[in-house]
Amino acid sequence: MTAATPCSVQLPQTGESYVCAQGETLLQGMIKLGRRGIPVGCVNGGCGVCKVKVRQGSVAAVGAISRQHVTAEEEACGVTLACRAAPLSDVELEVIGKMQRGFFYSITCSGSAPR
């Protein structure tokens, strides 16, 4: 299941936004921000570095995610791995993975202060 049209993804933590083309995962879209600190790990749901919480909107799973990194309870609350979820609507994301520090550090150093 994928969205019929491109979806907008908002990152309130940094004020950034990007677009996921049809069928693209949240992480594939995020990579197009083209900056350092994007949590790109195994991109196959195993390592957990791209852990996110979907604050608003809905996403569809595109593969298995490791229970070592996302529990069933967390998943029920909208937590997933950005490499394994594609947006079904416009969504708002919170980055919570273990590369979070790098994600925000890059933003701080590039001059656009986190909000």
Binding site: V40, G41, C42, V43, N44, G45, G46, C47, V49, G63, A64, I65, S66, R67, Q68, H69, K98, M99, G102
Partner: protein, 314 residues
């Protein structure tokens, strides 16, 4: 002491069909057995024992256990004694606990990883046989890896709390298991913290490696290729198969090996590794990499390590 080499790795996968396709079409292994629990056993063409990789269906990725092969059955008793003298509990699993494998001595490394030792595994021969063999068989798929070469385990390290299971593992492997340290990386004031240790039991620069990390895990399992040309071809194979490459072809300062790092479909890191590097011998002076040259030690050309290489593991 009689540990000869890595025997097999048992790893967790979240999508068995995708995993089999990857280890067959990219690495070039063959499925040799599927057991009643759905675990899948694979072998590389140049290995003579029945299997070297077990894929187990799971809801997470990572290592179940890694096993090493000893030369004589009596080595299992001697190693049991020396491991227990080191303060580590062991358990002898009966023959057949794993198909095609004799009794196994099971224990946990100071880092928490499960290790097993065995002496017997069904001998099936390499794909070119032992009589007037050709140098390689026809019909190889993907990278056509020769053998499972080694693994790198991420080991809990927290200098502030005085925890260094890299050093603990290194001490255990050299004192109780008869391994030898070939290379190490040291950091901190006066290089007091052993951040990485590369150990051998045969004649290659490493048969196992340990690197410090916040938590225990699997960094990679590595498959042997002959040459730099084979590494580049393996890179083409990965690109053709849309495999996520973590580190493009380059050379390690440590071990002098030529390498590609990439991920299987469950996010377990694999390596294709070429070059036997140098003759590893017990009397060879230990090579030490200091903190200022660590980047060159890990990736010799670029001299720097990408963040994902040290933070991403299963």
């Amino acid at each position: 002491m009689g540990v000869m080499r890595i025997g097999h790795a048992s790893i967790k996968v979240m999508d068995m069909a995708a995993a089999i396709k990857h280890y067959e079409n990219v690495i070039g292994m063959k499925v040799v057995h599927t057991d009643a629990q759905g675990n899948v056993y694979l072998k590389c063409w140049d290995e003579w024992d029945k299997f070297s990789l077990i894929l187990t269906p799971a809801d997470s990725a990572g290592l179940n256990h890694v096993a090493y092969k000893v030369q004589h059955d009596s080595d299992l008793e001697q190693l049991k004694a020396s491991i227990e003298a080191h303060g580590i509990k062991t358990e002898m699993l009966a023959a057949g606990a794993l198909p095609f494998v004799g009794r196994m001595l099971k224990f946990h490394l100071p880092s928490g990883h499960e290790m097993r030792l065995f002496q017997q595994k069904e001998l099936v021969g390499t794909d070119v046989g032992s009589t007037n063999p050709d140098p390689w068989p026809d019909g190889l798929k993907g990278a056509g890896a020769h053998w499972l070469d080694h693994c790198l385990l991420m080991c809990p390290l927290d200098p502030e709390k005085g925890i260094n299971t890299v050093a603990d593992n290194c001490k255990f492997m050299t004192q109780a298991m008869g391994f030898h340290l070939s290379e190490q990386a040291v950091v901190g004031p006066n290089g007091a913290i052993q951040l990485a240790a590369f150990l051998f039991c045969g004649g290659k620069p490493h048969d196992i490696a340990f690197v410090g990390a916040p938590t225990a895990g699997l960094h990679h399992v590595s498959f042997f290729l002959d040459s730099w040309a084979d590494i580049l071809k393996a890179g083409d194979v990965m690109a053709k198969n849309r495999v996520k490459i973590d580190v493009a072809p380059t050379r390690h300062g440590i071990t002098r090996g030529e390498t590609i790092y990439f991920f299987d479909p469950s996010g377990n890191r694999n390596e294709t590794f070429a070059g036997l590097g140098y003759l590893a011998q017990p009397d060879r002076p230990v090579t030490t990499w200091t903190e200022d040259s660590l980047g060159r030690g890990i990736f010799y050309h670029q001299g720097a390590v990408t963040e994902s290489f040290t933070t991403v593991y299963t």
